[in-house]
Amino acid sequence: MRFIAWQMLTGDRPKYFGLILAIAFSTFLMSHQMSIFVGLLDRTRSQIRDVQDASVWVMDPKTQYVDEVRALSFQDLYYVRGVEGVRWAVPLLKSVARAKASDGTFRNSILLGVDDASLTGLPQKFLAGDWRALRLPKTVAVDRVGYEYFIGKPPYQTGQELELGTQVVRIGAVVDASPPFVNLPVFYARFSEALDMTGREPRQLSFILAKAQPGVSEEELCRRIQAATGLKALTSSAFGWDTIWYYIRNTGIPINFGITILIALMVGALVSGQTFSLFILENMKYFGALKAIGVTSRRIVGMILMQAVIVLAIGYSLGISLTALFFELTKDNLELRGFRLLPEVMLLTGGLVFVVVLMAAIVSVRRVVVVDPALVFRG
């Protein structure tokens, strides 16, 4: 009977391909929208993720997310350094500065001031130049967005000058930083120089980045810092999630995207479910004839489920491949970088499409099992 089920499914090519395309389209729609949504939320914590040396972030107790900070003092830094279990602690400045190119092009940019001595917080992948450039005075590193906005398209080179805040600086390196939530240029400078560029009061910092001594867990270190200093201390992961949840709770973007995904789900469910139901409906008299001939309902159900699984597998594979191809082709696009197809999205999309097609199959199966004899004998 598997042969008959297969032939019934593939014999009518337009319907067969229509069914596969409907499921592929639904899969693409759902997985693509979910990936964009997840990628967008992931961008909110990009600057936390880029700091790979430190595992604990210390901040003002009322800080809710990475983009809104209240300055700490160097006194706080010394307190943190004195907490038992702290291997090292360094300052990080996060500020906004206006950058202006020699042709007058300007744009607000994110300026990160990393520890003068260790450069902790600097991204580790360099597209031009290297970390040593930041040792030079009035020298910064810039990310791809900043470079391409102010300087031009690759190949990336160093040595160009531009105004950053109150200073004229030289680009000493181009780094591959993760894209931030708002696709602003990101500049990196030594902490002391970043303070000069922003014209801020000296000896103020945004975050303290810390590392635990061997044998002390990150969570334990956070508890100790909070208890000893009264400051808020979070692991990189926890701070990242806090930032994501802040955006979910306080901006309309996730809700609107959620609605878009819901619509994508509904359209996908309707298209794939309806197409499969129609396919079964159009074959109803043949299933009815098989039932009259003596094929048991159980075997007919098996045939329909087999057909559902085949179109599901092919349609899903095609749709998910299209999504993967989309992100592969756009991975170097500055506006779309960072968006990617995650295994979780693949699984969730697969589960949703499976449920939709299975439900359509069950509804169709019911029609076949209780098939009207008149349909069999009168066509």
Binding site: F3, Q7, M8, G294, P373, F377, G379
Partner: protein, 228 residues
Amino acid sequence: MVCRGVQKAFGSGPSRLEVLRGVDLEAHYGEMTFLLGPSGSGKTTLLSIIAGLLKHDEGSVRVLGKNLSKLHNGEASLFRLQNIGFVFQQFNLIPALTAAENAAVPLLSAGWRRKDAIDQARRLLSELGMAHRADVLPNKLSGGEQQRVAFARALIQSPRLVICDEPTSALDGPTGRHVMELLRKIALNPDRAVLVVTHDFRILEFADRIAEINDGVIQKVTAAKGVS
């Protein structure tokens, strides 16, 4: 096949419709029994009950000694597969299967290997003069050819009862006659009963016995000359 006092109604209350009101009917081995009646007379309902696709309310139906209404769905399906051959009004050939594959469907359902089943179907189609069309899809076959494939499918398991639902309604006069001659020639034998449901008066000459049904009751049973 013996029906005694078969009753069937649909709906309840004021909308209740009695479709069969005590049908008595027999079909004997070696005979072609025609069930003749206008549209709405209860032919399809009776056919569905005899095939075990529908349960009757009252009376008894015994097919080859079995009461199909007492069998579970799976048992009834197996009984139909082994003992009853069907020819449908619209043929109901699966469009994606070739003539041979369509004819082999009952054997495939019975668990035969595909090659053996299709070889058997080819032999039967050859007997029906369809050897050269065995690999053709139904939409490339004429109405008469499709009917012959439907006969092959109905007969391939050597059933002891063959039920034909309006076998000539989709065919023109000469083709219909030819098909009935063929049916009589290949389907009828001393171990098999053939029940033909029709309202086509042009083919009545092929009947051994004609039962006329109207308003859910068998009005008259007429035996052809030479049939007791």
